[in-house]
């Protein structure tokens, strides 16, 4: 929200620079986002000394002067002011300056004499209407000093970020009230010349009544908390006076005409939106606040033709809607130059209905912004009087009759209790009841100390956000100043919540994968895919964000393509994140997955690398690297569980299970890739399911004692004291026999002494019978207490080969 520094000063006589005022508002009230000096045109003005002044040879009212503007040379300047005199200081606009009125200062010849700039009058720089002479400065700064340093001129716009709980701050009055409390100065409504017209007190009725010729009615109390109206006759619609234009411009609001500007002025002064109808255009001299009816339309002030829904409230005449309540008036009854009589509306419309209407129409206005946050119904009488007076001051006219006030009366407000002991408990500092009460009183609360622990508080009508004791405690903290509280660390008790096990697993996996040379990514988890089986986003902003992904490899594949498009061939990325699948219930199933994708070189090239295709091939990521990643992830994620890596199927290379349950896959990843790209391989494992059921019903808890995960540790094996013995065997393996079968068979007959079984080679081709491949294993044996004899080794070799031949038809290679 924009407020004007000068306007605030018309309410409170504070002595603060704009920057100091900003700090005060930010620290006690609401954050100031920006200070915007409105005197930008004046920033290039400097203080200059007139060194010589003499009459112009060809003019009887011009002067020729020599001016020291701090540039090191004396400038010739022609001046028309009668009061110019040598030795005095004046504001000076050098060549290149654009004046507030848009005049560009250039080097000119005036009646044959050169002029290099302009000495300025108060009016030329926006400091009043005085145009009789130039502004003589009573200061002794050096010529060349920026003028604004000497004399702050022009207003400053203050942009305040008002939070939705504080509609009372959406006006100069609201902000000024807080400033007045902070600087301990009285708060007074700015005096406006001519704004003293008599406005009779309103007549209060319950739902309908008459003011002047107009019959006014509110159909349902729920539509409008209060509705006031008055007829003003004999206005002359025209341009606004300069002071009003300036006020509105200072808050970035456009001047329209004197009547509309007067209503806008009061909106920003008091926070009360009002609307002036052209009385002559209201059919049947009737005004009804009612629900809009199906099929009704209205052309609003912005020229748009809008369809109305029955959830909206309208102000209608006898025939049709003339305004959308709380949002915007209609074009038909707009105040124009032909208008002489007005109906002025001052109302407090229902906030949720205003909000719903604003959202449905996509039309946010200064009025709707305030109504949906809540406009104090108690403000209406003062606002009506003020608006009528300002209109009469700037447009003439007179109040026709006693205003009408449709209002069922002030709601009963119960006093609240503020306990000093509670203040101390929440804020951590002991604050006396007296201090708390005096802080509350400073911003309009009625606060009485009833006992050393108790303050009885009546909330002012404009503070609809104050509902319970904690709201008062916040007021106390804010008004005392957050800086007044200490920030020392005090003793605390250890918490009851153990680390989330899924988070611990994710951390281990992340560390392992980053340690393995992979790069963690955090891409957007959406997909465009429209297949069934995806969870749909009901209101996506973009077509490629319409569904939630169901696996991470899909996301990583798109990221790999992104990298390939940027000529990055060596992609090794991973992500830990949620994936979603639909269920029969309202909640999707959400799992924490880890995905990894590798393609390209296994390590960066080095100058010493052999330059051969064979070596390049050996250095390229393949399926075995992906299998290793899967094993690494499984090891980190499923400690103490039995992990199996089995054959895949349906495009998977391997399927991973933990304690028999399927947890993930390794598979080649199909990409939209350029020809130079290498094959991509992916790994994806599920690390667990999120529990998204309700923990307990609303208002209840379901406490658990801390659950500590089972402790899983391995035991060290003693280091060997005896030598080992080993041999290699090359086997001719027929098609259909798998290495894992051979290993299993070898272990069956090798006994306890087999220490390791290592596959050392795979070969097919020359010297190998077609349909066979050669696999070579190294078997290492060791006895814990003695040396193994050659005879024992030979015996085992014989047993192993015999067993392999018998069970798998695998023989030792003969060639």
């Amino acid at each position: 929200m924009n407020v004007s520094y000068d306007w605030l000063r018309a309410f409170v006589g504070f002595q603060l620079t704009p920057a100091k005022l900003r700090d005060l508002i930010t620290s006690r009230v609401a954050t100031v986002d920006e200070l915007e000096p409105l005197n930008k045109a004046l920033t290039s003005l400097v203080v200059a000394r007139v060194v010589e002044a003499g009459p112009h040879p060809d003019s009887d009212h011009l002067w020729v002067t020599k001016v020291d503007a701090g540039t090191g040379v004396l400038l010739d300047v022609v001046c028309g002011a009668p009061n110019v005199k040598a030795g005095a200081l004046y504001p000076f606009a050098p060549v290149g300056t654009t004046m507030p009125n848009g005049l560009k200062i250039e080097k000119r010849r005036i009646r044959g004499q050169t002029s290099n700039g302009m000495l300025c009058s108060p009016r030329e720089i926006g400091l009043g209407d005085d145009h009789e002479g130039i502004l003589e400065l009573s200061t002794d700064v050096k010529p060349g000093t920026p003028f604004l340093k000497v004399m702050p001129a022009g207003d400053t716009r203050i942009v305040i970020d008002v939070m939705p709980n504080r509609p009372d701050l959406l006006s100069h009055l609201g902000v000024a009230r807080e400033i007045a409390a902070a600087v301990d100065s009285p708060l007074t409504l700015p005096e406006l010349e001519g704004a003293g017209a008599a406005v009779p007190a309103a007549q209060r009725v319950r739902s309908s009544g008459r003011t002047g010729p107009v019959e006014v009615r509110v159909d349902e109390e729920g539509l409008c908390r209060r509705y006031m109206a008055v007829v003003i006759r004999g206005v002359r619609v025209g341009p606004s006076p300069e002071w009003l234009v300036n006020r509105l411009e200072a808050i970035d609001s456009r001047s329209i005409n004197n009547v509309v500007d007067a209503t806008n002025y009061v909106l920003h002064e008091l926070g009360q939106p009002t609307h002036a109808f052209d009385l002559a255009k209201l059919g049947g001299s009737t005004v009804i606040v009612r629900r809009s009816r199906a099929g009704e339309r209205i052309t609003t002030l912005d020229g748009a033709d809008r369809a109305l829904a029955d959830t909206m409230t309208v102000i209608a005449d006898a025939k049709r809607p003339q305004a959308i309540a709380g949002v915007m008036g209609g074009r038909d009854s707009e105040v124009s130059e032909a208008t002489t009589d007005l109906l002025l509306e001052v109302a407090s419309f229902d906030p949720p209905r205003t909000r719903a209407t604003r959202r449905a129409l996509g039309l946010s206005t200064d009025a709707s912004y305030r109504f949906e946050r809540g406009v104090d119904p108690a403000l209406a009488p003062a606002a009506l009087e003020r608006t009528a007076r300002v209109i009469i001051a700037v447009a003439g006219g007179r109040v026709d009759d006693v205003p009408i006030d449709i209002y069922s009366g002030e709601p009963l407000v119960a006093p609240m209790t503020l306990r000093a002991s509670r203040v101390a408990r929440v804020l951590g500092e002991s604050i006396s009841a007296d201090e708390a009460a005096s802080l509350l009183r400073s911003v309009g609360f009625d606060a009485r100390v009833e006992s050393p622990d108790m303050v009885r508080v009546m909330t002012p009508t404009w503070r609809s956000d104050i509902l319970r004791e904690i709201d008062l405690i916040e007021e106390v903290a804010r008004l005392r100043g957050y800086d007044s509280f200490p920030d020392e660390i005090r003793p605390f008790r250890a918490g009851n919540v153990p680390d989330d096990p899924q988070w611990l697993t994710a951390r281990r996996v992340r560390n392992a994968l980053a340690g393995a040379g992979l790069l963690e990514t955090r891409p957007m988890p959406f997909v465009a895919g429209a297949d069934r089986g995806y969870v749909q986003v009901a209101n996506p902003l973009a077509a490629n964000e319409a569904y939630l992904r169901r696996d991470i490899l899909d996301t990583l594949a798109r990221r790999a393509e992104y990298n390939l498009a940027r000529m990055q061939a060596d992609v090794r990325i991973f992500e830990l994140g949620s994936v979603f699948t639909p269920t029969d219930g309202p909640m999707p199933r959400e799992e924490l997955h880890v995905g990894a994708l590798i393609m390209g070189r296994r390590q960066p090239p080095h100058f010493s690398d052999p330059k051969s295709d064979e070596f390049e091939k050996a250095m390229t990521f393949d399926a075995w690297d992906a299998k290793a990643l899967a094993e690494t992830i499984a090891r980190e994620s499923f400690a103490g569980m039995s992990i199996e890596v089995e054959d895949g199927g349906e495009g998977d290379l391997w399927r991973i299970s933990a304690n028999g349950a399927h947890v993930g896959v390794v598979r080649p990843v199909a990409l939209d890739a350029p020809v130079w790209a290498k094959k991509a391989f992916g790994v994806e494992l599920s690390l667990g399911v999120f529990d998204s059921t309700d923990v307990a019903p609303a208002g209840a808890h379901a406490y658990r004692t801390a659950e500590y995960p089972p402790v899983v540790v391995g035991q060290f094996r003693p280091l060997p004291t005896q030598p080992s013995s080993s041999f290699e065997m090359s086997l001719a393996v027929p098609a259909g026999v798998r290495a894992s079968q051979i290993e299993q068979a070898v272990r069956q007959v090798s006994g306890d002494m087999l220490e390791s079984l290592q596959l050392v080679d795979e070969y097919a081709g020359k010297n190998i019978e077609p349909g066979y491949r050669s696999l070579a294993w190294r078997l290492t044996f060791r006895h814990p207490e003695r040396t193994i004899t050659a005879k024992e080794i030979e015996g085992r070799r014989t047993n192993v080969l015999r067993h392999l031949e018998k069970t798998l038809n695998v023989r030792a290679r003969t060639t």
């Binding site: 954050t31 986002d33 200070l35 939070m163 939705p164 709980n165 949906e372 408990r425 929440v426 804020l427 500092e429 319970r468 804010r478 957050y482 800086d483 509280f485 200490p486 660390i489 005090r490 605390f492 009851n496 919540v497 989330d500 988070w503 980053a514 340690g515 040379g517 790069l519 963690e520 891409p523 957007m524 959406f526 969870v535 749909q536 986003v537 009901a538 209101n539 902003l541 973009a542 992104y562 990298n563 990055q568 090794r572 990325i573 909640m587 959400e590 390590q603 960066p604 080095h606 010493s608 999120f690 529990d691 309700d694 923990v695 307990a696 609303a698 208002g699 209840a700 808890h701 658990r704």
Partner: protein, 356 residues
């Protein structure tokens, strides 16, 4: 030379002369061949000079033998050492230089793996709060309206909801707009005292542009116990800021969140201008870091916690935004596009120290 039947005195003198000669000759051997000649001359089994002493030792008087034997062993060891030392020296000199004729050539590299910059920020925050006794809680990203809004004191159909433009799935199921629903889940699940940190991904209905992403990370903290106050909030968050940003002035200013009261936003002095005002801090001298406040009693009550007995505070911040300002990342999309050239830089950031 040693006489055939030396006296003890002659034996010992001879040994001494022998060791002196050996310790001069061995270091001077310039080639393997010369060294081998010397080895045979001194230590050779057949003609080595020590062999002669060994033979002579047996001929000494019985009572002299122990002493002489010890001296003999000492000298033998010294000569053997001299030989082996020289042998090592010669072989070291003879070994081919290990292709380091030009040591300026680059090392063989491995790919450097890295965590995401946002992870680095989250982990650093976690580390600081773990010093203060916080543990980690998480929760689902698909949530109910009640956990995301209702339990957190959001009034229905209120302008406060405008700050949370929400992506809905079905009915009252949505993608959480903040990590705060995990506050309610944690409060319902565990009795106080509670000191948890909640990192996670959140969603907003925003276009993907240089300063917004529809999905991004948040981290928040929750502390609930008897006697926890606004002073604890200020103290803990100030400690955090001093550890994370270095010792710089901080300030708290009033704000509004439906689920906290009093609410406060925390600023740290602008690191670019040092507080005098610049474009980065919009001339204020301060940069906003986090939102915080005392947990609203209504939030405790929604989770079945006695709000008279227990009080506490919460805070939330955006590690993505912090990563952007901390590492000078010009466009938020870089964080999510997953360009490997960007991510590789994180490996360097991980070991970089905070600039003061």
């Amino acid at each position: 030379m040693l006489p055939d039947n030396p006296t003890l005195e002659q034996f010992l003198e001879g040994l001494k002369a022998l060791v002196v000669a050996a310790t001069m000759e061995f270091p001077a051997a310039s080639t393997d061949e010369k060294l081998e000649e010397l080895r045979i001359a001194y230590l050779g089994d057949q003609r080595g000079q020590l062999r002669a002493f060994q033979v002579a030792l047996g001929k000494l008087a019985k009572e002299d033998r122990p002493n002489a034997g010890r001296q003999f062993n000492t000298v033998k060891q010294q000569i053997t050492d001299a030989y082996e030392t020289r042998k090592r020296e010669l072989s070291a000199a003879a070994a081919p230089p290990p292709t380091l004729a030009d040591p300026s050539m680059p090392a063989r590299q491995q790919w450097r793996g890295a965590k995401h910059p946002v992870t680095l920020v989250i982990e650093e925050i976690e580390g600081i709060f773990r010093e203060l006794g916080f543990t980690i809680a998480t929760g689902p990203e698909a949530e109910t309206e009640w956990y995301n809004f209702g339990s957190l004191n959001f009034p229905p159909n209120h302008p406060a909801m405008d700050l949370h433009d929400t992506l809905y799935l079905t009915g009252n199921v949505l993608l959480r707009t903040h990590t705060s629903p995990v506050q309610t889940r944690t409060l319902q699940r565990y009795a106080p005292p509670i000191r948890v940190l909640i990192p996670g991904r959140v969603y907003r209905r925003d276009f993907f542009d240089p300063s917004h992403a529809p999905a991004f990370e948040q981290i928040e903290g929750l502390c609930i116990d008897e006697g926890i106050s606004f002073v604890d909030l200020k103290a803990t968050l100030t400690r955090f800021a001093n550890r994370f940003f270095g010792k710089k002035p901080t300030r708290f200013r009033p704000s509004f969140f439906p689920f906290t009261e009093p609410s406060a936003e925390m600023d740290v002095q602008c690191g670019v201008c040092g507080g005098s005002g610049c474009g980065v801090c919009k001339q204020t001298g301060w940069v906003e870091i986090l939102g915080s406040g005392m947990v609203h009693p209504a939030v405790l009550e929604a989770a079945g916690v006695d709000s008279e007995r227990y009080t506490g505070w919460a805070f939330g911040m955006g590690p993505g935004r912090i990563a952007i300002s901390r590492y000078g990342i010009p466009d938020i999309r870089l964080l999510y596009d997953s360009d490997v050239r960007f991510l590789e830089q994180t490996a360097d950031q991980a070991s970089a120290r905070v600039k003061e």
